[in-house]
């Protein structure tokens, strides 16, 4: 095996291991069980959003509005609880529907109006951000300190010692894994992502699948919004935007790890944990938060470049 082929197959994994070793060396706390659990817990929301993104990218598209779906999920749920006093599970349902609404908008723009996924979801992002600002009269949060404990528990509770949010994220992982990697729907979605025309000729109803996929992805992101709002007991407009790039990066990093370079659930999980590890490690190094922001950004670009370069060498 030449150096090039080793790099092509394992480049990113080697980098991940290097970072892991580096952080372990630099901080005594990094390697502790509690810290590793912290990483996983902190990654729960990003993971949920990244899974939605995995579905879309596997199908050959991109979704820049996942932050908006996240926000709508939070907003709909919090308002339902606060202004309509519904039960916590109803609020969750309403939140997910809020996300699905965003997905519906995307689906209509992309499948019916035939706008490219980039432009369509960018437009949704802009429109959605403004709607949020208008709705909150300037971007202030809607807080609900006295939310039902069951809802709050989505973020702070635990089941048999495992944090609820981790269980939710794991559940979403399992569902997505089954759908995308083991079901016949997933097979068709991968076919569409690989060669849309061939999938079309083979009789796969491409437009219907794309329509449903965008709705599904946004609905999934809304689940992340439920957890986020439960955590801080409020809906903060535009909070979802910060997850966008991490989600995209995780999907591409995950694709690079896959033997065929396809976006996949396991790879996305690894990608999310990698990013979580970076954030956690930089934190433990006690860096100034501006420096942290800069380093995370640079490492992200580097990891993406590596992921893409790896694909080119295959």
């Amino acid at each position: 095996m030449t150096l090039k082929s080793i790099f092509a197959r394992f480049g990113l994994i080697i980098i991940i291991v290097m970072f892991f070793s580096f952080f372990s060396y630099i901080s005594p706390v990094f390697l502790t069980f509690d810290n590793q659990v912290n990483i996983i817990e902190a990654s729960a929301i990003v993971l949920i959003l990244a899974l939605g993104m995995t579905l879309i990218v596997a199908m050959g598209g991109i979704d820049l509005s996942i932050g908006i779906a996240f926000d709508f999920g939070a907003a709909f749920a919090v308002v339902a609880l606060k202004d309509f006093g519904v039960a916590w599970y109803v609020a969750c349902l309403v939140g997910v529907m809020g996300g699905a609404l965003i997905g519906l908008l995307n689906a209509v723009l992309i499948v019916i109006l035939k706008i490219s996924p980039f432009m369509a979801t960018l437009g949704t992002f802009f429109v959605g951000s403004s709607v949020e600002r208008v709705f909150t009269n300037g971007g202030g949060p809607i807080s609900y300190r006295r939310m039902p404990q069951e809802y709050r528990d989505l973020a702070v509770g635990d089941v048999f010692g495992i944090p609820t949010e981790v269980i939710i994220a794991a559940a979403v992982c399992v569902v997505y894994f089954i759908v995308l990697e083991r079901s016949i729907f997933g097979k068709r979605i991968h076919a569409i992502g690989l060669q849309k025309d061939a999938a079309n000729v083979a009789g796969i109803p491409v437009r219907r699948y794309m329509f449903i996929a965008f709705i599904l992805a946004s609905a999934t992101c809304a689940i992340g919004g439920l957890i986020g709002s439960a955590n801080i007991r409020m809906f903060t407009p535009l909070a979802g935007f910060s997850y966008l790039l991490d989600a995209i990066a995780a999907v591409f990093i995950g694709a690079a790890i896959h033997p065929k370079g396809r976006p996949n659930v396991i790879g996305t999980i690894v990608g999310v944990l990698f990013l979580g590890m970076i954030g956690n490690g930089l934190n433990l190094m006690g860096l100034d938060f501006n420096l942290k922001a800069a380093l995370s950004g640079l490492i992200l670009v580097g990891a993406l470049a590596l992921a893409v370069a790896q694909q080119r060498f295959r």
Partner: protein, 321 residues
Amino acid sequence: MTQSMSTKLLAVFPIIVFACLFVYLGVQSATFFSLGTFELIAKQAVPTVIVALGLATVVIAGGDDVVAGGIDLSIPATAIICAAIIADQLTNQGNSLVFAMTLAFGAAAIIGAINAFLVVGLRMTPLLATLAMSVAIVGVTKVITSSRRIGVTDETIIFIRDGDIFGIAASVVMTAVLVVIFYHALHRTKWGMNMQATGGSRDAAEISGILTRRFVVQSFLIAAFAGWIASVFVLARGSGSSPGTEENMLLEMVLATFLGAAFSPRRVVTLWGAVLGAVVVSALSVGFISIGVNVFWTGCIKGGLILLVVASAAVASKGRS
């Protein structure tokens, strides 16, 4: 209605919408159609015009197809980081404007080079590459500014903000000169025609012996350069470097550039189109504020306008060959 008639109607649909918007604004606000307002619109449009020039160049060289073609979302971020570097050098380090701008130019050059490498060298989707770069750049900016505002009192910057050249606002005159230079380079030279050919049809260009990769690389360098120039005007407008202005600039830049395509006679992204688009967007902002529309609605309307323009173009192009 024949197919070509309905196609043409769809193509001008955005223009009709805009015309109506302006009539509405003119009617609602007594002062809208006044010289003072026009000057305000022009001054407000300056940073958007400049970054839109950069984006237009990348799109012209890369092709209108947003997925496979050219796009550079990192230009506003470049403008912000250059503004931060200049402000930091002027105010905190006490260096001259020339030195500060040179340093900032270096940063912009590095950014442009990295973008070019990612897109042309690694063949990363421009969308992903420039989006990721944008985040990285903003992060590095935070280090320079510690997420705090840096005020600037350099007299040249103040002149750009307040001064006049031959009776017209200094920033507007300088921007106009820049537009003329860009226009000449891109539409009146062999180099410019070849860049247009590269974006128009890669195959056609390569068959004609044009080195397309080189042009795409140059387009990203030019885009970063535009970001650098814009930074000076951003500083002037804000009398310093402030955190958090990037997202709005991004929205306006994209809207202006793609809106311009709807206004151009050939229905493609052009420099004049981008300039006109920036002015129209600025006019809308000024207009809405002057009639008291909630400033957050303007963002919504702008987003809606992007979708309107792109949808019309997408539907109209189905009727074309």
